[in-house]
Point group: C2
Chain length 572, copies 2
């Protein structure tokens, strides 16, 4: 490609509404153009990256035996009603009516349509397993679209769906897709991590997220630097502290703590570490035809509640109202505790709290806390559960060290659905014995357009984007200095361009006649990973300059060795 035949449009400044670095750089590099909130055109430079991402995904999906199809964007409400998701999806699913006033949705995902295909196309166990995928536009009407294409409304996703006879088959299909995803993200050239995630209904290890590691990531990832353990914060298990609980050493004392409604204030007032305090979190669980059931969850003062873990213990819950709290505990929030409760309440202690002795907690009396609280002595042994977010330094659940926490951007997700959709929609098959059984499903997503943002968040510097070679808009840029003035430069640049192109290198030559400074700045901003500069000075010695986008200096390369050098650098 010659630059004069392409469309290049760079900006010195990013628009004011670009908040994060990837959004700013994509706007400045002319890769995307905003049409509305969360709705972008992909300009030629950005579309090239998307096409490369798509090609890698497609190759690895095909290699894994998945079969590509394409499902409609506009989907009838009836299908979504069969699974109940027409009502459950909320405002994020964009709904519309056609000219005959029939209801449709713009697909946010395609479980219903693919299950409809499976239930009509698959009749016998002989046709299983099947694994369908599509690379298709999705629409999610985010309340607050932001971060450019990282949280857009219209975006492109690879979504895949496997159908198996049974759970063993599903597990094999899941592992197959997991392995394919590892190959995909490895080929992208990104630093990523597959992390265990929570999958609600099915449990176990039936869900993994793929995160691109970046300091600016929205998600916290828990990992063990000395093992391959990794999980997202929702799913990461916090083990019970090692060893036995210490024996009680202090008496139970109702201590005045005026105005100290927070653990931090209590600890400061009493001159004790925050790790000696326990906070009380009150949840309510609705009951049919009765007042809500009240739960008291107890966490160490410095720990945070993990709401997903809480919901696994309590079920569907909400935080209790102040009225419910006063009715149950006889006092306002800030001074609550498990001792001397007025109403019925279920007490659950976090694993760490269950191991504590002589701790401090609310006394169910305004401006008072108990000190020297001990399980078994001052109150019954509690129900114990993992209720908290892990923190840096916690023991790794695999027993192989302690965990650390990093930030990630979720770009992929593999998920065991089981029979949730196939049962709701009657997607069954006849097994070897002529018996009807529901298919076991998995679903697998990669955020194609989001990959661009994530790759940039991980790979940029002050001058611009630094694409990994595999997904760069162009692999190599030839920058001739004086293309419009020097006969020699023009001739050698043209020759080099033809040689690289004919060797299958995805090369662009900047024949626009820009001055070197502006030309270099453009390509550093756009982030082409390999640059060859052709200039009169070097040509006198039969040389050109090679510089990788991360290199601090250029290297002189004899003309005859340029192709070999570029190939070597591209493979590195």
């Amino acid at each position: 490609m010659k630059a004069s035949q392409f469309f290049i449009s760079t900006l010195k400044e990013a628009p004011a509404d670009a908040e994060i670095v990837s959004h700013k750089l994509m706007m400045r590099a002319g890769m995307i153009k905003k049409l509305g909130a969360g709705i972008y055109s992909y300009m030629p430079m950005g579309l090239r990256v998307i096409r490369k991402v798509e090609a890698i995904v497609r190759e690895e999906m095909n290699r894994a035996g998945a079969v590509e199809l394409s499902m409609p964007l506009v989907q009838p409400a009836e299908l979504w009603q069969e699974t109940g998701r027409w009502d459950k999806m909320g405002d994020e699913m964009l709904r519309l009516k056609d000219r005959h006033e029939r209801d449709f949705a713009l697909q946010p995902t395609s479980e219903e349509v693919v299950t409809d295909i499976a239930r009509t196309e698959i009749r016998s166990y002989k046709q299983l397993p099947v694994n369908f995928y599509q690379i298709q536009i999705k629409f999610r009407d985010e309340r607050r679209p932001r971060f450019g294409i990282m949280r857009g409304r219209e975006f492109t996703m690879k979504d895949g769906y496997s159908f198996d006879k049974d759970m063993d088959g599903l597990r094999a299909s899941y592992q197959n897709m997991f392995d394919a995803y590892v190959r995909v993200f490895t080929r992208f050239g990104l630093n990523f991590r597959a992390v265990a995630a929570d999958n609600g209904a099915i449990g176990g290890s039936g869900s993994h997220e793929f995160h691109v590691i970046a300091e600016t990531g929205e998600d916290a990832i828990v990992y063990c630097p000395t093992s391959d353990y990794a999980a997202n914060m929702e799913a990461a298990e916090a083990l019970a502290p090692a060893g036995e609980r210490a024996a009680p050493a202090q008496p139970l004392v109702n201590t005045p703590t005026p105005g100290c409604a927070k653990c931090e204030a209590v600890a400061e007032l009493l001159g004790i570490p925050l790790t000696h305090t326990v906070k009380s979190i009150v949840l309510a669980k609705e009951r049919e035809g009765a007042a809500a059931e009240i739960w008291l969850l107890m966490l160490r003062g410095d720990h945070e509640l993990n709401e997903i873990k809480a919901s696994k213990i309590v079920g569907e819950y909400r935080f209790a109202t102040e009225a419910e709290i006063v009715a149950t505990f006889g006092t306002r929030p800030g001074y609550l505790g498990p001792i001397g409760v007025k109403g019925p309440v279920r007490v659950v202690a976090d694993r760490t709290v269950a191991q504590m002795s002589d701790f401090v907690c609310g006394a169910n009396q305004e401006d008072h806390h108990y000190t020297g609280v001990n399980w078994g002595r001052d109150l019954p042994e509690p129900e114990v559960a993992d209720l908290r977010n892990v923190v840096k330094g916690d023991a790794s659940p695999d027993g192989k060290g302690v965990v650390d926490i990093c930030r990630g951007i979720e770009v992929g997700h593999v998920f065991m659905l089981g029979a949730r959709y196939s049962e709701a929609m009657g997607a069954t098959y006849l097994d070897e014995n002529g018996k009807t059984a529901p298919m076991q499903m998995g679903c697998y997503g990669i955020g194609i357009t989001r990959i661009l943002g994530a790759a940039i968040e991980q790979n940029y510097d002050a001058r611009g984007i630094i694409w990994p070679t595999a997904i760069a808009p162009f692999e190599v840029v030839i920058c001739p200095v004086g293309y419009d003035r020097s006969e020699a430069v023009r001739a050698e640049a043209d020759k080099l361009y033809a040689a690289l192109r004919d060797a299958g290198v995805d090369v662009i030559m900047d024949d626009r006649g820009e001055r070197p400074g502006a030309m270099f700045a453009d390509w550093e901003l756009i982030g082409v990973p390999h640059r060859v500069v052709v200039g009169d000075r070097g040509l006198k010695e039969g040389k050109v300059e090679y510089q990788g986008r991360r290199d601090t200096e250029a290297t002189q390369v004899p003309l005859a060795e340029v192709l070999a050098t570029v190939r070597e650098k591209m493979a590195a």
Copy 2:
């Protein structure tokens, strides 16, 4: 690809709602699956064809210097309001509201968005010309979707838009795209014709449609078998008959024609050819603050009004109401004519009528016609215009023969837009002299998904589809007879499969173990153009069978020559 790793699903019978052959065959071959009226999933077999069509289009667009981008499907109403099309587009444009109650449209086309891109990205004449294209989903909410994907609601289109400094530039861009379209349709391997079309505002030769020729086509195409003239019916010019008008020979007579309100009945009653009669068509053109202007168009009894031609003469019109007709002519429709009109009326005669002598037309009196009517003698010489559809045997407008009429399916359209959108939306640039001027635009469309239907309408037989090699889902199918039973067959089929695949042939091997009859029927229905059958009998002589999809008989081919034979047949 091995069939066992792909998804093949054929049907003996087409569903009852499939009306035309391409719809029936695509359903039976498992290429598409209906989700709702005019909304289809593309199943793996169909998607392969789409991908091949897309690849050819993309290659030729890139070769022609067009640059690919991708514009959003969901487009804000504001842009469509700028050009007035938000109101003009009618129910065919699907509108929707997001969660914030803002108006959007699902793109039926993208002139507004691309013009918005141009007006912000292009500032100087140095950046012109530019030619953008996308291959993207479109949605048109057809009142009555039908014919499968031929007139669907959700479909894929290549839409391209060129921007030029001036009309000379536009003409060059237009020709460039015209040439690219010829290459595209030639590469598809389809029998097609580029036909001149009407482009309303700009006139001249600024619009061509590309039609796939098929008896089942919806459109009539006028062409000259002895020259390269071709136009669609709307645009095909009907010349005035050659020679001078004959001198009057008959007197003007008001003749009773009781009950004969149609030319056919009058001709039969009077014993004259239909070509001696003239029919009167009354149009009304609304006027601000006044009664509608009444027009009388006169056509020969056997000719049909061309409404596009009429609108060029009259402007925006409607057919007159019976009340308007009675008020103007003093009688009911069926007996109208240009002689003795009561009210003001503009008379326009079709070119053929203007050349007629001694003709018959209505007498503006119930149950009466005039015979022996002559221009200049009985009524003033009329205003003359080309008002009718051409018919087979008319003189070709290029003077090189007479025209014939065939049927076609419109699959492409190139169109000079001029400054219509750029002026409405302020898409201007600074010219060489620093003066602001609007860009001149062209637009260019190819119905990607429609190509599939059109190709099938042109290429099928009783057994199924016959794909041209270039867009076939697979180029070659290997059908091993007894793959599951014969060691020799399996070994040779596997070897042949690997050899063809490694040679870059897009081959599928049917390893499903189906019986020969069912296997052959499947592939003939699916329409793979080249088939190689491997069987024990042939292998004993070191041979396999080759049969092209249109061949009536198979040919024996020595194993060593299979690749060469297949290549030769593919190139034919």
